[in-house]
Amino acid sequence: MRKVADVRTPALARAVAWALMLLGAAVVTGCASDAELDTFAPKGPIARELHTWGVLPVFWIAAVVFVGITIAMVWLIWRHRVRSYEGDDEWPAQTHGHVPLEVGWTVGFLVTMAGVAVIMVLSLPTVDATEVNTVDVIVDDHSVEWEPTVVVVGNQWWWEFRYYFSDQVDLADLRAHGDAKTLPPADIVTSGQMMIPIGEEIELIITSRDVIHSFWIPALNGKRDAVPNRFSPWKIEASEPGFYFGQCTEFCGLSHSRMRMQVVALSPADFQSWVDDTTQDAVEPTDPDALAGLEVFSGICTSCHVIEGVNDDVFESADQASGAAPNLTHFANRSTFAGGIFNIYNADGSLNRVQLEAWLRNPGDLKANYTVPGEQYRGMPDLDLSEQQIDDLVAYLSGLGKRPAGWIIDATQVE
């Protein structure tokens, strides 16, 4: 054999080994961060059970196999490496194989994977099985036994959440209906932020009006795709009041990265008071600026947006590929806008006027969209509003609905 291979790089090799080891150490420690989307930091009971019984056991199995194979490989390399080719032309024993050994590790892998299969089968119900529960909610002075269900609708690039209290819908109803663009009227239609009561399993019925999206709140459960005109069941549950972040996880076009959402878990009393606030129609403003804003809204914004009490009786569909735009009836009751990416309020509780105005000036500057005149819009176009119109609209919109609680504003502060 020629000596072409007799090139040693011990210093380099040692540096590499150290780099890899440090990387490994960093990998281990890096997992312990408290990022808001961290899948290893489950906060709700479903996510916790999924993590403990579905994710961790198979990670451990994989880790053990990995460590075993790596040790074997490193040992083999260390033990059987030819250190000097000089005068070493010996051939080792020519082993062609060892059938019992090979059958042995085939069976070994089979048994290991059977173990993994058991983990899978046992943890399937964690994400799939639904329990029947009811929450007493008072809607328009009537007590309703609400089977907690939220219809989740993906749109480019925002999420709509629909609550049905008086005429409750279930999965079968919506599958029979079959069309996500003409859903039955709901008691509450909101977007970006989903309010749920704590301690209850919430059924989600997930669909889309345009392309495929994926709804994912890592702290509460895994994800489920939103497929146009298909209705897929999912569930989430939070045990503590809090703010849980999500991000669309199925590629959905230009602003996929800026399609976010939050789940806000509220105590039963807070949830009831949110229902009280948001089942009301919008109230006509008294402030002259806001009145002027209503004027602007009625002239321009109503081709896409609905405000109940303003244009819900005449509205058919939005001038958008999805046929919908966020319902703004209780705009100021939320703490984020534009697909969960901007704060409506500053950390000190004041209105985030700068951001709202910038958005109204030209949304496309802040969030990629497709608004070529003459073609179907996807996202909010530049409306060419004057500064006066923008001020009036901000005055109007910021008066729509009750300001959320301080801790919600505080917890939001996205970006």
Binding site: L23, V58, A62, A368
Partner: protein, 660 residues
């Protein structure tokens, strides 16, 4: 054509090439030679292999630049290197380029070059079809990339191009049209080549080369060709539907017209998952040649290795819906595909342990090729095991469509596939070019690539588990993504450096070659038939077609085991190797028609998108060229070659295979 004849044929005296006029042809019949024009008409499997390899490396650079743009964009939060629109095009074209224009053709290069050599054949079964598949592949590759210039940008729907996002309403540029048509053209190339190589493996083996004596590389490439043969029709159907949807409002995927967007996902992944094995199995084959050679032991458990490869090939068809665990398919489907996915880990795990057992008690010589091969096993093991972690469908609901998956499949495709093929480049470089790649630069190439690779894709595991979604063009501060994204970007720059080192190595090795001793036929003391002939390989491959007596035929020609099981040399390389000096071997005649056929296809593509008249012209070019090809004799009657009565019958039988 008779390319397996046992006795070399004599060329008559005065065999100067004449360029005969063809009454029905546009081109004079090319006669073969060494100028650039001869590369256009070549039907030599080795030249076609080199063409595949060189073009693949070019597109590796293209895809690599796209990868660097992605990494620069994501290096820090709120990146502004690319707009969202351009980012989507770049990441789509990165995936498409790396899969269809880099790894697949690089594997095709190995298949074209080494299958005939490893089975002791003079060429593939259908040499002109072989040329056709390369030219069609190249025309498809060029077509696909011209969408940057004439299509209003690259496709922006991801390489998976899910409906409904692939519709005109959601992707109004022509990028997706170029994707749909370009991949169909590339698919024709792969289909043609798969049939050709399957026939080659099954019919062209040297006497005594039974299937269970075939080198494992050839075995894995054969399995790959079967996967291609069955997988490509599925994606072709899907692409055809997509093309009709976009160009002619066919409504196959429009949910408002009653269609189900999940149909595309099923079609795509029935192709897309076997595609993973199409990418990885050739690398498995390469590793299975290199590890025995540098361990100085035969491959441990040849039968297990072959059958586990076959098992992977079969089971690869039953796992596609694990890409769709969260798409809303029912729990039974989820459970079934979750189970099948887990059990495909068994034959893969067997392979890993058999490689380790091959190294066990061996005498390991860590040449650069061996380093790459062992790294392939190690890195693929990580990718395989991270795959096991999300084969558990409920767990996958947390991991799918996050960077954890990006990390996983890069460990499989780059760590397994690309490192494996780089091992092959260093291993077979002397065989193909007649000089070594510089080992010192190779060491730099290897270590920088290994570190860069792990630094790029290792952190993506963490990012995914921290909740970073795939395919996002930017991310906000505060999610804890900053550090590891920066690390990954630094890693990707290291990868770029390692590729530069490789290119420098190619240049420098060529420049230094005249001053260094030539490698000779068998520089690594290797095991299979390609090492029994000179380096570089003569045009006719084998002076005499070898007769095979055992697995690792070439090794057994050099060595035997005595009664105590000790290895003793029975012949030196110089004694045993062929000299390559045979003359007058009858070889298939070159032809320009494969190239002409291939030129027509992109014209059809542009025509479908921009102007149907152009499509008509393209169709005429292609059909006319096919017609002329059919009229062109397999062997050029005017080319000087001599009597070969004894082979006449066999030759005619072979001709039937090539010409309808």
């Amino acid at each position: 054509m008779a390319i397996t004849e046992k006795t070399p044929l004599e060329l008559g005296p005065g065999d100067t090439a004449r360029y005969a006029e063809r009454p029905l042809g546009v081109f004079t019949r090319p006669q073969g030679g060494r100028g650039w024009r001869d590369w256009l008409s070549t039907v030599d499997h080795k030249r076609i292999g080199i063409l595949y390899g060189a073009s693949a490396m070019f597109f590796f650079l293209v895809g690599g630049v796209e990868a660097l743009l992605i990494r620069l964009q994501l290096a820090a939060p709120e990146g502004s290197v690319l707009s969202a629109d351009v980012y989507n095009q770049v990441y789509t074209m990165h995936g498409v380029t790396m899969v269809f224009l880099f790894i697949m053709p690089l594997a095709a290069a190995f298949a074209n070059y080494f299958i005939p050599l490893q089975i002791g054949a003079r060429d593939v079964a259908f040499p002109r079809l072989n040329a056709l598949s390369y030219w069609i592949w190249l025309s498809g590759a060029i077509f696909l990339n011209t969408s940057w210039i004439v299509g209003g940008g690259g496709a922006d729907c991801g390489w998976f191009c899910y409906s409904t996002n692939s519709g005109v309403a959601f992707s109004p540029s022509h990028g997706v049209d170029f994707y749909a048509i370009g991949l169909q053209i590339l698919g024709i190339a792969s289909l043609v080549s798969s049939i050709n190589l399957i026939v080659t493996c099954l019919n062209m083996r040297a006497p005594g080369m039974t299937l269970m004596r075939m080198p494992v590389l050839t075995w894995m490439l054969l399995i790959t060709q079967f996967l291609l043969l069955f997988a490509l029709p599925v994606i072709t159907v899907a692409l055809f539907l997509l093309m009709f949807d976009r160009l002619f409002d066919a409504q196959f995927f429009n949910p408002d017209a009653g269609a189900d967007p999940l149909l595309w996902q099923h079609l795509f992944w029935i192709f897309g998952h076997p595609e993973v094995y199409i990418i990885i199995l050739p690398a498995f084959g390469v590793v299975s040649e290199i590890i025995p050679t540098f361990s100085r032991k035969p491959l441990f458990g040849y039968e297990f290795m072959v059958f586990s490869g076959i098992a992977i090939g079969f089971m690869g068809w039953g796992v596609w819906a694990h890409h769709m665990f969260v798409s809303g398919i029912g729990p039974i489907s989820v459970a079934a595909f979750s189970l099948s996915t887990m059990f495909i880990a068994v034959p893969t795990g067997v392979k890993v342990l058999n490689w380790l057992a091959t190294m066990w008690a061996g005498k390991l010589r860590f040449t650069v090729a061996m380093k790459f091969a062992v790294a392939t096993v190690a890195m693929f093991t990580i990718g395989g095991l991270s795959g096991v972690t999300h084969s558990v469908a409920p767990a996958d609901t947390q991991q799918t469509d996050t960077y954890y998956i990006v990390a996983h499949f890069h460990y499989v495709i780059f760590g397994g596939g690309v490192l494996g093929l780089f091992a092959g480049l260093y291993f077979w470089w002397p065989k193909v070019w007649g000089h070594f790649l510089n080992e010192r630069l190779g060491n730099w190439n290897f270590w920088i690539m290994l570190v860069g690779f792990n630094l790029t894709f290792g952190p993506m595991h963490i990012l995914g588990l921290q909740g970073m979604s795939r395919r996002i063009d930017t991310y906000a501060r505060g999610y804890g993504f900053e550090f590891w994204n920066m690390a990954a970007t630094v890693g990707s720059l290291l990868l770029a450096v390692s590729v530069m080192v490789f290119i420098w190595n190619v240049v420098k090795s060529k420049r230094d070659a005249p001053h260094l001793p030539p490698p000779g036929p068998d520089p690594w003391d290797a095991r299979s038939l390609e090492w029994s002939i000179p380096s570089p390989v003569p045009t006719h491959n084998f002076d005499t077609v070898p007769v095979v007596h055992s697995r690792d035929e070439w090794w057994h020609t050099k060595y035997a085991e005595d009664d105590d099981g000790r290895v003793v040399r029975v012949a030196t390389v110089e004694e045993a190797a062929q000299t390559g000096e045979a003359t007058g071997v009858h070889l298939p005649s070159p032809s320009f028609w494969p190239l002409a056929v291939a030129v027509g296809l992109p014209l059809i593509g542009y025509g479908l998108i921009f102007n149907l008249w152009l499509a008509l012209i393209g169709a005429l070019v292609t059909i006319g060229s096919l017609y002329s090809w059919a009229l062109e004799p397999v062997d050029d009657p005017d080319a000087a070659h001599d009597h070969h009565e004894e082979d006449q019958e066999a030759q005619e039988a072979d001709d039937d295979g090539d010409e309808p």
